[in-house]
Amino acid sequence: MAQGSDVLIIGAGIIGSAIAYFAAKQGLGVTVLDSAGPASGTSSRCEGNILLSDKELGPELELSQYSLGVWKNDLAEFAQLWEFEAKGGLVVASKESSRASLDRLTTAQRSNGVTAEILDRSQLVDAEPHISPEALSAAYYPQDSQVQPMLAASWLLRLACDAGARFVPNARVTALHQEHGRITGVRSTAGFFAAGSVVNATGTWASNIAGMAEVAVPVNPRKGFVMVTEPLPPKIFHKVYAAEYVDNVGSSDAGLQSSPVVEGTPAGSILIGSSRERVGFDGSVNLEALKAMANNAINLFPFLRDVKILRHYHGFRPYCPDHLPVIGHDERAPGLWHAAGHEGAGIGLSVGTGKLLAQALAGMDTDMDLSPFAPHRFSNQPLVSKES
């Protein structure tokens, strides 16, 4: 029998790495397996958002606020390792109707503890001098932040290892091991690993691991593209998006949706998002998506028309039908825990998720109620749409 650890985490993306860090800090013996290396899935194919502005009121917003606090307080000393930047978000309204809905949205958000202020046209131009002449006003969210996600995942894992965790790359899990009705370890391409608890932190691929325990965790891929421009002197200073973005994030439509999200990076390149489509793990390039994103971005910042795109990439957001992540112990499969399904908010929610789950794994009371994220909220039916 291989040497067991208290906690075995499957997946070295941002979620698995964050759990590993906080669990190791709790004094738990931690092993992390990944089928490749650190941040090899969606964590390296995203923008590193830590946002409050786009969250619906409720448990997800609460978790976002909690997680932002973890980034800013618990992990303050490491902020530079992953280029933490409180760049602030601007949601731009270009129509009278969206201007009114922005007013309503920010009022509700403010009463839930989100800092949000309305900028008029001239204040908006002060904040973003190159904004389109069509832009009427904006909601400004100074708490919205960003990290470099690959660095964040890689460094959290490294810090976890410094605190005693063990990382095994290139270890693909092939089966969950059960004893007396309890998950007590995993079989992998790197051998057998025994553990007191097994954590499924495999993001978009979480339903596969859950399936090994014959439980349904309906996480499905929701594809998105990001285009990256040539490096430029700073011209865009916030994360800037259009009011319709907030509607798209909350939508469940399977068809292509695109709304502009444009931001500068410390390296000088500008990231242009976003698109959403549910097409399984189809990795082909969707020119319609790129075209829509290009038009949307040019509408927000006309100067982008002549700026060159150097590359684009796509990722598969781990999407749950009710837009809430799956976090906690799975009562249907004792010994198995999940932390997955954070959709497009995984980077922001990761460290809060990690800290809370580590508390639960250590048998402590959690700082926040995890029951809205409970895995067994899904009935144990086979997945309706098997998109993998």
Binding site: L287, K291, L310
Partner: protein
């Protein structure tokens, strides 16, 4: 009457010209897309032809081999243009290539019409595609390689051939492979001094496999001409010698070279300095320009020289339906091989979907291909890319020049953050994220990430650096203006 097969050829170098010419000869409608302003590619790059040049007036042939082959391919090419069966799109690049559901090919084009201006975006759909995009000099990082005056050996050559400009007066050429010889020869003919050619190989590899070079006498004659030039111009040709550092304050001033032992390690105490150098040309073999092929997900393999190359069948068809490849993208082997492959590809591409290709139609070319591939293998074995450089890096030696990422940063990411391939090196350090998208540093980053391993992990790492879904930078406006449905 059946409709003509529409063949798109990307590249107008030896392989592309031959493919276009032979596809025309077999009745196809051809579109040839090329990044340069006139046909010839790197190999037959020549001085700008006079506008309105009359057919029959020959372009300048200074410094060229096989110029007769060029002229005959060019004649067929020009005849195709005149007859309206060939559309030639110079100064044009493909930024994305896709296969449609009906297995036809769609290409997104971008053109540089004049400095700073862009022609409107356009989309081209073809029945068959021949990718003949060639290769460029493989570079490895050496302390000082980012000083002004240091360039690829190919750049030294291109400046002479294309502009008649000598990149320096006192030039050191270093690297490996026969290509350093014609560069030295052209520099000498143009009046420059080649202070040394530093060849890292000991050349004993050629003796182990004499059959292959003897089967290609033309290469022997070409080689003899170069050796004659070296002797005549007293150019020192140093075997088992590597360049270890390039020195200079504002620009290159001197280089350090050293001898290597049988294992390729630098022999302590053998270092010497060459002073008063104003130009260094580096070339460690070539890297294929493969991203348009990898965009189709075609099968590839790692060649003997560490280049990722496309798998092709005997008629140059890749594993992708209707996608053919010819020239250096199927394995670095020189212009004669490229012409033969292009000729076969042009024939195959022009065939109707029901027609089976016949070996007899291209028997001569198939023989040439077989002999030249054997020659290329022998050449690669004799001129393996040296390994000494990784131990020779300084912490602040820049590896990724676009994003200014140093060797120290890459090694830190590897050792501390478990970045074990070029992709994770890129994610964590930005090496390969800049303008060239890893074309220059991808090989070196892969070597460093995999600690000099030359097997599966290295091959996988290199293959990943070829994933460039935007093949060349394209203005956002051209993406915004894409047509909704591709025109035929």
């Amino acid at each position: 009457m059946s409709q003509k097969i529409h063949v798109a050829v990307i590249g107008a170098g030896p392989a592309g010209l031959a493919a276009a010419a032979n596809a025309l000869a077999h009745g196809a409608q051809v579109t040839c897309i090329d990044a340069n302003d006139q046909p010839g590619g790197q190999y037959w790059r020549h001085r700008l032809e006079q506008p309105g040049r009359q057919p029959g007036v020959q372009p300048d042939s200074t410094g060229h081999h096989d110029w007769k082959t060029y002229l005959s391919l060019r004649a067929a090419f020009d005849a195709g243009i005149a007859a309206g069966t060939l559309a030639y799109l110079p100064n044009t690049q493909v930024w994305m290539a896709q296969q449609r559901e009906d297995e036809r090919i769609t290409l997104q084009l971008t053109s540089a019409t004049a400095a700073g201006t862009q022609a409107p975006a356009s989309t081209l759909t073809a029945d068959r595609l021949v990718v003949a995009t060639g290769a460029y000099d493989r570079q490895i990082p050496i302390p000082g390689w980012d000083l002004p005056g240091v360039m690829t050996a190919g750049a030294v050559q291109a400046l002479i051939k294309g502009q008649g400009v000598l990149a320096g007066q006192r030039i050191v050429l270093a690297g490996t492979g026969p290509f350093l010889l014609p560069v030295a020869s052209n520099v000498a003919h143009a009046g420059g001094s080649v202070l040394a050619i530093c060849e890292s190989a000991d050349l004993s590899g050629w003796l182990k496999n004499l059959k292959a070079p003897l089967a290609v006498p033309a290469k022997g004659i070409e080689g003899a001409e170069y050796i004659w030039d070296l002797l005549r111009h007293r150019i020192p040709y140093k075997r088992s010698t590597v360049i270890t550092a390039i020195h200079g304050a504002e620009k290159v001033e001197a280089v350090s070279i050293a001898r290597t032992d049988k294992t390729g390690a630098v022999i302590a105490g053998s270092e010497e300095r060459i002073e008063n150098v104003d130009c260094v040309g580096l070339g460690f073999g070539f890297t294929t320009q493969l991203e348009l092929l990898t965009a189709f997900g075609v099968a590839t393999h790692m060649d003997v020289d560490g280049s990722l190359v496309a798998d092709v069948d005997e008629f140059q068809l890749t594993s992708g339906a209707n996608v053919l490849a010819a020239g250096e993208v199927t394995g670095i082997g020189g212009a004669a091989l490229a012409v033969a492959e292009g000729t076969v590809a042009g024939y195959r591409a022009a065939l109707g979907s029901g027609q089976a290709p016949q070996q007899s139609e291209v028997a001569k070319e198939l023989k040439t291909i077989s002999r030249h591939r054997a020659f290329a293998r022998a050449m690669h074995q004799a001129h393996q890319v040296p390994d000494y450089w990784s131990g020779n890096l300084e912490e602040d030696t820049v590896v990724c020049r676009c994003e200014e990422v140093t060797a120290g940063e890459i090694i830190q990411a590897r050792d501390e953050l478990k970045a074990v391939d070029a992709r994770s090196i890129k994610s964590t350090t930005r090496a390969g994220m800049g303008w060239c998208q890893g074309r220059v540093c991808g090989y070196a980053a892969s070597c460093l990430a995999t600690c000099g391993d030359k097997h599966e992990a290295f091959a996988q790492s290199v293959a990943n650096t070829y994933k460039r879904p935007v093949s060349i930078p394209v203005p956002l406006g051209e993406i915004a203006d894409l047509e909704d449905s591709p025109k035929e």
